[in-house]
Symmetry: C3
Subunit: 502 residues, 3 copies
Amino acid sequence: MPSAPVAAAPAVHTPVHADSLTLHPDRFFDPDPAIRRAARAVYDETRALPLICPHGHVDPWLLANNAPFSEPTALLITPDHYIVRMLYSQGISMESLGIPTRDGVPVETDPRKIWQRFAEHFHLFRGTPTGVWFDHELHELFGVRVKLSGATASVIYDQIAERLTSPEFLPRALFEQFGIEVLATTDAAGDTLEAHQLLRASGWSGRVVPTFRPDAVFRLASPLWRSALADLEARYGSPITSYASFIDALVSRRAFFASLGATATDHAVVVPYTRRLDQPSRDRLFSAALEGTATADDQHAFEAHMLIEMACMSTEDGLVMQLHPGSLRDHHARVFDRFGTDKGADIPVVTEYTRNLHALLNEVGHDPRLTLILFTLDESAYARELAPLAGHYPAVRLGPPWWFHDSIEGMRRFREQTTETAGLYNTAGFNDDTRAFCSIPARHDLSRRMDANFLGGLVARHIIDLNDAQVLGHALAYDLARRTYRFDAPSAASPHTLREAR
Amino acid sequence: MPSAPVAAAPAVHTPVHADSLTLHPDRFFDPDPAIRRAARAVYDETRALPLICPHGHVDPWLLANNAPFSEPTALLITPDHYIVRMLYSQGISMESLGIPTRDGVPVETDPRKIWQRFAEHFHLFRGTPTGVWFDHELHELFGVRVKLSGATASVIYDQIAERLTSPEFLPRALFEQFGIEVLATTDAAGDTLEAHQLLRASGWSGRVVPTFRPDAVFRLASPLWRSALADLEARYGSPITSYASFIDALVSRRAFFASLGATATDHAVVVPYTRRLDQPSRDRLFSAALEGTATADDQHAFEAHMLIEMACMSTEDGLVMQLHPGSLRDHHARVFDRFGTDKGADIPVVTEYTRNLHALLNEVGHDPRLTLILFTLDESAYARELAPLAGHYPAVRLGPPWWFHDSIEGMRRFREQTTETAGLYNTAGFNDDTRAFCSIPARHDLSRRMDANFLGGLVARHIIDLNDAQVLGHALAYDLARRTYRFDAPSAASPHTLREAR
Amino acid sequence: MPSAPVAAAPAVHTPVHADSLTLHPDRFFDPDPAIRRAARAVYDETRALPLICPHGHVDPWLLANNAPFSEPTALLITPDHYIVRMLYSQGISMESLGIPTRDGVPVETDPRKIWQRFAEHFHLFRGTPTGVWFDHELHELFGVRVKLSGATASVIYDQIAERLTSPEFLPRALFEQFGIEVLATTDAAGDTLEAHQLLRASGWSGRVVPTFRPDAVFRLASPLWRSALADLEARYGSPITSYASFIDALVSRRAFFASLGATATDHAVVVPYTRRLDQPSRDRLFSAALEGTATADDQHAFEAHMLIEMACMSTEDGLVMQLHPGSLRDHHARVFDRFGTDKGADIPVVTEYTRNLHALLNEVGHDPRLTLILFTLDESAYARELAPLAGHYPAVRLGPPWWFHDSIEGMRRFREQTTETAGLYNTAGFNDDTRAFCSIPARHDLSRRMDANFLGGLVARHIIDLNDAQVLGHALAYDLARRTYRFDAPSAASPHTLREAR
């Protein structure tokens, strides 16, 4: 093969040193020259757009306090359940990774040892999104230019640690450097939102808004229900002694969340079952919960009813409704008992939407005041149920590939399996959905590249033209998230207008 | 092809005006030169083959009357539920699209306004099969050379309207121009088939045949059952007062359908459950229905039994049996109540075949006189259940990707997920399955291109050679549909032989 | 891009004669030059590695007896249920293929006629793994250089028959020629393992080991249970009159299997349900079975319990546990009654893992002494359940694409749907899973090519670099199977050390 000036050619023959860390400008794009050329042309239009972060789990205190990050391991390893689960799956104990135990049994405390352990196993992440996000963070955020491995762990640790001491690495400085236009956190119904109030009072211009997540107060049979209700009661300021006062408390809290900029609610259930209860049943179930006698079946019925109530409230107050079903949380009791939630042991289950959402959609699915964003961990529902639902009901939009599917192949499958039935305009743009603040740019960049690549594939197959692809690329990277989550609405108070209004 | 200056290259740089409508000769093919070259070589053999249309929903009166089409909106927009659902999903009311209400409440009546509204939202269809079918129709059928948009809507409307007045745009002329070799309609068991009789009496040589679809008379618990039975009774000519006379009526009607050229039956159920009832149960259920006391469970059991009966009758009369399960019809009661069926609110559900079809297949799945064509809206069954069933049972064939999956990516998934287990010869060729008469050529062309592209991919990966691919391409585009639906059988009366026989 | 001599170009224009059989050196690789170049570079490192065959169904007597193969049809056609089912699905009777009937009704006995019949229908296998495996065998093993067809059937038959008479085609010679490092068979709990004992006594250096498969003695309600138990009892040497003695017999047999080199157990169930029974329930169910009164529900509960017992025993004796769920065996009663099992009528069903495996994984999923390899026929579980489970539980590994999915597209889907969540190191390498001894090299070669191609795709998209890809390629082709199945463990006795130890 003497002279092959194929565009993709340099890929394999890159003369860089094997241990140097580089980010290829065409990474994640299909190597086909026609696709790659169009993908680049789309990505050039979207790469620098501001980041809309309408759903995630960043701790608002991070930005309220704006304190320096302590050191690399506490920032990048210990709190990232994607990293912890993979290491654990290969026999590395959580104790040795410094994951704190609930009963206080001591675990590894030396962050350098943990970092070294992670680095020695970084090969486990080859071909995973965690691997490419991490390389992106190392390269773009921390200026690392050698690959992470056991041999380089210590040097890289020092390099990051040193950077973390500089003012440009304070959380708010990073927020601005990342180009975040708005960041939504996720907050319990009974949360004080004190961090959000402080953020607004601080005069900082960054837009950080809460999201109303009332799951805990709907779980009537959970041992944690009483304390969740007590929090709600405390914020509400009156006793919640009946279903009626419960509803009133929720309405009131939603208004408070909205007053701090919230534009959305979020709901996690195992099964997205919806069914309206009659008045006597509601009262009976709520009383049973107050008496501590509610059963799992009671909770199932109550959650099914409350999803409809939430949708109805959304038609009144305009909060966009997000539904994240299908994760069986804390599958591994041993891990949960010792280390608590969010340790990588949440396992998806088959999720049915067509029959389960029938009641909710028949009540308010036609209502232009409602936006209901559906997520899934069960990709078999994409083409079968979710795209047909979104392609009919005016209220329904499809959330981006979630969690395990927030990945190169996951994004490809999402677009390939939903676009032809739902179109692109019934999707809701990207969510980074992360608690790993420093990974936000990496995640958005990956998403923008994959959408550019998908659109480039349509161009290369002459399904759309490049002009259309660029318009669509802009929509997928920015406009759709902004519009679907109503960050463009005049009613969505910005920090400044709110402060002025007070 | 001496020196291959890669075809895909100009794609992005096409110097055509951004607003000009063109159909790229390589559209839908993978851009890889090796795949594209083989795909072209296969498509060159299939593009001009006659169209076999063995399953669809064209109204036979269209061809029986052969009246001119009225105007573009009534022809292309209002009756197309793919178009209506997408516009509705984005907040455009059905009233504003001129969809007639069941209670006669007035809706938009100006076709130009509706056309303009559609054109202004045509961007919603980017990347969808509706988008590419529509462009194909505009370009190939109506000679449109500018892209449809709000700005061009009016000019294009006029251009189409003018064409519709010419004799070449009469339905029968189009039928011939499209190269349709045979077109099957779908007709209720109690239909008079008057249009089909008139077609035969007309002396026109086009082959248009009915398909026997008895679903309505199997739905014992439906409020519409009595009237469906009354129609069947009227055609049968005798009272249907028992299960035995019901069976006799069905046998008789099947023979009548066959006498008008029918080669197939069609059956739609939510769940493809099959189970034989004993004689007392059949009688009991049928009596309950006559008394108006049949329950949903009764209907479920009766439908499960009747599918087996239909298969058995097929072994006698040779009618090919089609099974279309898994659509939950009229999911949105508000839309159904106001506008009726087929308005885009039919949503698929998980569909199980292995256990559900066990009884039917154990009774007649080995019988060479039976052909049972299975369709699905649940793609997860392709590799898991459908390909293994088709790869074993002599009676079973796989229908083409159906409805939401009749698309570029849907066709790709179908071939990729069924071929390796079922082979290509256990599939049934293409169905356009459309009520949109003018979209027939576009749909067949898309299918032929995608099959050529799939085969081209096998050639480029050296799994088959190009000669084999061309033979297979011919089979997928023409032979398999013709043979599977028995249009090549001497017993399948053509209009001419039938007329002679009378 | 002036003149692009694209690497893939010669594919279509290969000037070989249409009837000549060739194996293209780049077969199965994507045609994209960047992918292909990287795929080749990976495959070059793996193509000649020894074959690890940790799961399959080769008859150990084949190697124990080392008798010459009789003739081509008995070797290649009749026993291959992949071939038989496809021919049967197209209307070719099993009788005409020489499949013996259970009642001794005569069938075709002329192997040349059967071979001819197969050859005339070889086009049915175009695009299937059977087709490419068969071509590989013809070309590489038997030196055939013309394509198989009706016209060439007889010549090819003679050529193979002639080769089969030479000493290089004795089973042990082929084993060595294939480069098999270790071959595991699959054997009932009550098997004498006489063939394995003879193999060891023979002094031959080939490593052939049994696998402990006790399914039959867990199926309490099966009519075959008594005889399976009787076999177990005979091997155990004591009466099995209680659950306790049953457990003791199993422990004893597992030790015996291990003494002959076994490193694994294998378990086939329809539903992978696991749940521990209390002591009284175990005793009650086992007694019911002894009395012949066990029901299907009893069996379901007992199997669910025994899977946990097996996992616990594995933590003691170190045998790797394989779980193959989701096949509904002998779906076609007519075929089973006439021809018995393994005739292509085993049809997959939906398979749930998250809830079903909860009990087992909560008991021993964290235990480093356990390796549990999960297989599936339901690909929808790959990304939804299996990858998340493997990406958390230390004991869990994912088996390679199984049965219908042991194919080009099946392998692609497996990697694309599991890698990003589970990583590559939580997968178990390749299994050929075959009873067709001569197809072993073809199957491993296909797998190595597809893994090289997958990794090449990651390189071409700059997700990993070529060095990493080569390391990973080696792992997928050799290291992971060897390590996961513990063939590298010092405790896994080799024939020689065993003989010395006696």
